[in-house]
Symmetry: C2
Subunit: 339 residues, 2 copies
């Protein structure tokens, strides 16, 4: 069977997915029996193209690399719903920009896919943070799959590890460095920069946005913890209910003091179930010993330690962002959905 | 459908599996839709019991805990093959002692299961190190599954991560601490013991065997690297072809020198594919910087860093042995086989 992929959102991540698919077509077929065509690509700026028999990925990538646009191709007119159905897609890869207030436009795209029995994967935290229950129910109802490996640590396979690698294990606590920007800033500060210099460097390197509030005030890891609350404990936590403290008040003196105590300050995002069954969710700068498994996690790298009944501490360290890394998350999910 | 489990080998790991299954019966049913009966338990010392309708796990565990024997139950007479078929098992959990020369008795047990279309999981490195190709072919031929999460890092889900979490990723290098005993010895040495003291401590704590050769000469991680060669690159490497150096010649002076250089000596097991496509497999004490992700992995903990095209470095740190940890590996595989 040919898997027909629709891609919504063709920015850095979407383009990386197309590149990986194009480069690895033969390997994916031979090693994973994953045969595919991309039958739709839609991007609010670059344009919308569709062909139920498969688009020419080579030409699409050439246009994206040279003109950063798909407008040279014949545009497909219609609503997203109409074009998705026209494309005969069997799976949707959703990589539109994250909107944590409305989840749009990704949320509507995913709803449309699932309602039509089309499985969906996303790297966009918005829809999953806002409507995970609804989307899971929709998927079940329509015999479709819903995946979202990329929403927490990009392609670093945390969600796969929880749902498939540790099946039957009771995860009591998850504690991690889930935001690369703040970890980069704290790392630079531990090497001598003050907060403003470190933030400016992060912005210059493209790690932090012009308005860095989402990162430095801890909103981004708080959303990820809210998603983990659902995955690990099946409960709904509003991001506003995550106890949250950012890193803006961290001074060079505090960093130096921690160093003198053979410790490091890290922005730790955590969730745990206490012995009364109550769930505690928190994001806060935390002093951890240099021998702690998360202490050596520097720069933009992410990491998480899961504490469980049968395995004790299991730590996963890896990329937390990046175009290829997040494209890989979509690929992992697409292949899993085809099985 | 009721999954009927046969357990071969009822030592620490086998008993831990039975404990987990007994404790978690309801959770496994409700959360994973995994409904099961244990229909056969065989152990060369403790005895052999079978009932196609399901054995009483509570009574079995009571007997194991109180008498360390199953001889009080009515013994089932016959060959392994006969009893396995009598038990109506749909899956075999194999946890007999490892024999790296013959793979027996586990190898024959697994062959019997697969030939009869019964899926098998093992925590025993022997069969997989000796006959992985044959067993994979047998499984395919008979429409059965073959799993072995526990053979490398016990329940820490390395194999799941490679086969399911990083699908489509090209893993160029794997480098890790895959033997807890030697890592414990090196950790104790870095805290002041000499080699003989550290080894004696490891033996006293049950981490090292009376004949510690397999660990301290690096045979155990070499076997794991040979298994990884097959999983990652599909090639057969004899354990004798893994370049191998143990830790017996490591002195307190060498440890101190490394410390002075802000480094640590770790027994690193590695395999990588160079740009000519050649595979290099090696186990050797290696000086790594204190900022290396593997440097903070102390004591009996295991860890591995996978370097891949799309994800860069992904590191997994966790238990490398232990009864519950390895029982969990069997459980993960059993649930996956039921899907």
């Amino acid at each position: 069977m040919i898997n027909k992929i629709a891609l919504a959102g063709c920015g850095n991540v979407g383009t990386a997915l197309l590149e990986i698919l194009h480069e690895k077509r033969n390997i994916l077929k031979n090693k994973y029996n994953f045969v595919f065509e991309v039958t739709m690509v839609t991007d609010i700026i670059k344009g919308t193209i569709a062909d139920p028999n498969g688009l020419d990925l080579g030409k699409i990538l050439e246009a994206l690399h040279e003109k950063n646009s798909l407008k040279n191709f014949k545009q497909k007119e219609g609503t997203f719903d109409e074009i998705l159905l026209y494309s005969n897609a069997t799976m949707l890869a959703e990589a539109t920009p994250t909107n944590l207030k409305t989840g749009e436009p990704g949320l509507s795209f995913i709803r449309t896919a699932l309602k039509n029995g089309i499985s969906a994967t996303m790297t966009n935290k918005g829809p999953i943070a806002i409507a995970m229950n609804e989307l899971m129910a929709l998927a079940k109802e329509n015999d479709a799959q819903l995946k979202y490996e990329g929403v927490i640590m990009s392609g670093t396979p945390l969600i796969n590890m929880i749902s498939s690698g540790m099946t039957g294990c009771d995860i009591i606590k998850a504690e991690g460095i889930l935001n690369g920007t703040t970890n980069f800033i704290l790392t630079e500060m531990s090497e001598g920069m003050n907060f403003d210099e470190a933030l400016a460097t992060a912005q210059a390197l493209g790690y932090a946005e012009t308005d860095p509030t989402g990162d430095i005030e801890g909103w981004d890891p708080a959303v990820k913890i809210a998603i983990l609350a659902k995955i690990l404990y099946g409960i709904d936590i509003n991001v506003n209910d995550v106890e949250r403290e950012g890193i803006t008040h961290i001074t060079a003196e505090m960093i130096d003091k921690a160093k003198a105590e053979k410790s490091k300050i890290k922005l730790i995002a955590s969730i745990h179930r206490d012995c009364n069954g109550e769930i505690h969710a928190k994001v806060a700068p935390t002093k951890i010993s240099r021998s702690h498994p998360l202490a050596s996690v520097d720069g933009i790298t992410n990491a998480i330690t899961l504490t469980s009944d049968n395995l004790g501490e299991t730590t996963l360290i890896g990329a937390g962002a990046g175009r290829k890394e997040t494209g890989q998350a979509l690929l992992t999910d697409l292949i899993a959905m085809a099985k």
